[in-house]
């Protein structure tokens, strides 16, 4: 899928990974989190080679990461509170009181402390994602990964998430990787942007630099143009020829 991908994601900054549909942005995330193994090459997170880790070592490393899934991926049998408390219960021996304080603090950070007793089925899309975010930061990770966090959100919820991404990075210094294709939105919070296409990085730099990048594919993507290096027409036979042949069959 990728051919010669070379990306360096800086610590403590918000990095956006963008690209047309199907270029493998999610696959990149899976490689970084070790959910998928690469056929060749090297993936290093916090100085450790992801390919060489055993399952146990991988789990240890993952405790320093947090991931926000596209649809929140909350555990449906647990309440909001229990969902956020889940990593704490599984990995730590903290007392109930401490867990409660931590969970409420994180929920407060995303603005949902009042919803602690609700079940995931009762939440809207935006709220689910915020709860998932609270869950992702409850163990104070060093790295946060957002997989298409803006999909299907109304402008208000979208703005909320954007603000949270920026705030978390500013206040906690968490390295953030955001995979998205909302060009306008992500440009407001990202420090650095990578544009993927055809299995390669076609552009990298600050949002400003990308806006002025002369490469065709970058211009098409940033400008939201219907036709360009990514063609409008799906590959097909000659139009005139196909029309003619059909009438001949009649």
């Amino acid at each position: 899928m990728f051919a010669g991908l070379d990306i360096q994601i800086p610590r403590g900054k918000v990095t956006a990974v963008m690209g047309p549909s199907g270029t493998g942005k999610t696959t990149l995330l899976r490689l970084i989190t070790g959910q998928v193994l690469a056929d060749g090459g090297e993936i290093k997170v916090a100085g450790q080679d992801m390919q060489a880790l055993s399952r146990a070592e991988l789990y240890v490393l993952r405790r320093r990461m947090g991931m926000l899934f596209q649809n929140g991926a909350l555990l449906t049998d647990f309440s909001v509170f229990e969902n956020v408390a889940f990593p704490l219960r599984e990995h730590t021996d903290l007392t109930e009181r401490l867990i409660r304080q931590l969970v409420l603090t994180k929920l407060q950070a995303v603005g949902l402390r009042g919803a602690a007793e609700l079940m995931p089925a009762e939440l809207s899309g935006g709220m689910s994602r915020r709860v998932a975010l609270a869950r992702a930061i409850v163990m104070d990770p060093e790295l946060l990964i957002y997989d298409e966090p803006f999909v299907g959100l109304d402008p208000i919820s979208l703005g909320v998430i954007l603000r949270l991404i920026r705030r978390l990075n500013d206040t906690l210094g968490i390295t953030s990787i955001v995979v998205s294709h909302d060009v306008q939105e992500i440009s407001t919070v990202a420090d650095q942007v990578f544009l993927l296409s055809g299995g390669k990085v076609v552009a990298g730099g600050t949002p400003q630099e990308l806006k002025t990048n002369p490469t065709e594919i970058v211009k098409q993507f940033i400008g939201g143009l219907a036709d360009g290096p990514v063609p409008f027409h799906f590959p097909a036979a000659d139009y005139f020829g196909e029309l003619m042949s059909r009438s001949e069959d009649l």
């Binding site: 959910q35 993952r62 405790r63 449906t76």
Partner: protein, 253 residues
């Protein structure tokens, strides 16, 4: 045509290998999970206690039918008093384990498959992996062990209720002597028969639970995928149950 046949054969073999590999994985992870028995306990409730109603009702009706049919058949040979023996052996060795297993596959098996399938489809399993929680240990093994433990218990309950159902029809309604019903049964039924039944229900429990959690865990993460997983569970379970039934019956001979 042959090529297709060969392909489906190798596909099936591959699937079988995958299932066996999965079983080993579950077994290897079981000791750790047994330490957190409350997880398993919850699943025993889901698979066992919640299936009680259908098992009890079915056991009662099957027992009553056995009583009726058995009585009519034995009457032709003048051996109505052997009804207790006939009903008990039929239930304990065959009907109890097999019918319970089929009902289990339909009720508990589909529930397990759809739960896990849904978790797969909504990324909950991946989320757990990302939170460094092994979903096999946290979610799959408890469900598997819950089913394995619940099955023999359900089969035993089915058989007991069935015997009483047969007694209800035979003694209370058809007039078989109550004393003969029980005494003939006691002298003719051996511990080996009961052991055979227990061995069967245990084997069925492992098979059904394994198939259900496997289908759910590896379901295609879409709505249709979950649906297909549940139907596959019932169909595959039924075939495997009946096949194992033959194997174990033959082994005990």
């Amino acid at each position: 045509m042959f090529g297709e046949l060969w392909e489906s054969f190798t596909d099936a073999l591959e699937g079988l290998g995958s299932v066996v590999h999965f079983l080993f994985r579950l077994i290897v992870n079981s000791p750790r999970v047994l330490l957190r028995f409350n997880l398993i306990s919850q699943q025993i409730f889901n698979s066992g206690a919640l299936s009680l109603i259908i098992i009890v009702l079915s056991g009662l009706f099957v027992g009553m039918v056995l009583g009726l049919q058995g009585f009519q058949l034995l009457q032709r040979f003048g051996s109505e008093e052997a009804l207790g023996t006939a009903a008990t052996i039929g239930l304990v060795k065959e009907l109890g384990p097999v019918v319970t297993a089929l009902l289990f596959a339909g009720r508990a098996g589909t529930a397990l498959a759809s739960e896990l399938g849904l978790m797969r489809a909504t990324d909950q399993l991946s989320a757990m992996e990302m939170m460094a929680v092994d979903p096999i240990q946290r979610v799959v093994v408890p469900r598997f062990l819950g089913g394995v433990i619940a099955m023999p218990l359900l089969a035993a309950i089915f058989s007991v209720i069935g015997i009483y159902g047969a007694q209800l029809v035979g003694v209370q309604i058809m007039g078989v002597d109550s004393g003969s019903f029980w005494s003939q049964m006691r002298s003719a039924v051996s511990l080996t028969d009961v052991t055979e039944g227990i061995a069967k229900s245990f084997a069925f429990g492992v098979a059904c639970s394994l198939i259900a959690v496997y289908q759910g865990y590896y379901a295609t993460p879409t709505a249709e995928g979950v649906g297909r997983a549940t139907t596959s569970t019932v169909v595959t379970s039924a075939v495997v149950i009946l096949f194992l039934d033959y194997l174990i019956t033959a082994a005990f001979l």
